[in-house]
Amino acid sequence: MSADISDLSLVRRVQRGDKGAFDALVLKYQHKLVKLVMRYVRNPAEAEDIAQEAFIKAYRALPQFRGDSAFYTWLYRIAINTAKNAVVSRDRSPIEYDLDRNNTDESYDMQGRMKDAETPEGLVLTDEIRSTVNAAIDALPEDLRTAIVLRELEGLSYEEIAAAMDCPVGTVRSRIFRAREAIDRRLREVFEGGLGRVEELG
């Protein structure tokens, strides 16, 4: 199986004018991208802003993307450059609340954002979602759990997982799908149960 084929099919659609296909790429890579950007900025809100900017830059540059490298590799470079530029421009601009102590509203806001970066609730997946997913994984049969963990945590291909689990590739595909379905079923219950603060899933 050629790598990146699904991304490439989505990219080609975007290049032909299908903006909806770009949503799928954003949904797939937003978590990775925010995590990547957070190597450069510690504030999650700022990291999301930078990730958003990187996605928009990627969209605009997509006509030049030829598929020589994987889409995520290409997106990765854009995000890194955007993050570096953001850090440079931020360092050039002095933080105002340090200079102007009379401006209490602004300094409170900045301190609040800095504080938010150190608060787990502001940084991570909501506890409820995380605990739901973890509980669902724990409840999975051993073969399903192994398959999904090898795929998501270790990043193994289906062929590698098949070799590791000594089963056909088709079985691996089925196991991973069933594992996801089981977790997703629990996850949907959480969202439909009124997790108001979760505005979207991706």
Binding site: S9, R12, Q15, G17, K19, V26, K35, A51, I56, L125
Partner: protein, 222 residues
Amino acid sequence: MNEELDSQLSAMFDDELPAAECELLARRLSRDEQLKARWGRYAVIGATIRAERGVRLNAGLARRVSAAISSEPVLAAEPAPQPKKQWARSWWQPVASAAAVAGVAAVSILWMRSQSPEVTTEIAQTAPRAVAPLTASATAATNAVTGEPDSYVVPKNTARRLVVPSTELANYVVAHSEFSSPVTRRNLLSAFMASESGTAAPSAGSEEPTEDVQDDDAKNPQ
């Protein structure tokens, strides 16, 4: 939701779906919001397993990006691979330059030829005559082609191709004139005169008529 479709979606998420199926599913994914939401949840599951802390699911990042993209112009129907164009330009430009230079050179040569037709005819005439002393048959053939009389005509500029410098030849003739027979001396002097007149040709101009040795012999018989 169709289980087979969900299974395909899961495989596509992992880049494990055949290309043909990917194309079809990508089309559906871009339009089906329910399928897109499931796709997004698959990403959440992966992020949770990898413990990607720092990701806030309620941040609305995907929605903000989607809103920003909606105000962007739709991309061109066909992608324009810029690097490929640059590559094409990089090999095309030298070729075009070389072709232009070659064209100018060819036009210049043709123009020069058209401006001095005697050079062409002179070359055409002298080339066969240069080998004339060697083979009589070749001379005959050449004359048959050119239609000229069977006579030895020394062109003005053929001396340029002589190997022996005319001054040395003259000195040689003068030095050995006492010991040579009249016929030999005459032949050498004729050759000397011919070479001298050929050497002087460039300065005199190419339009100067050629000297007919046969006629000269007729005027000065020995």
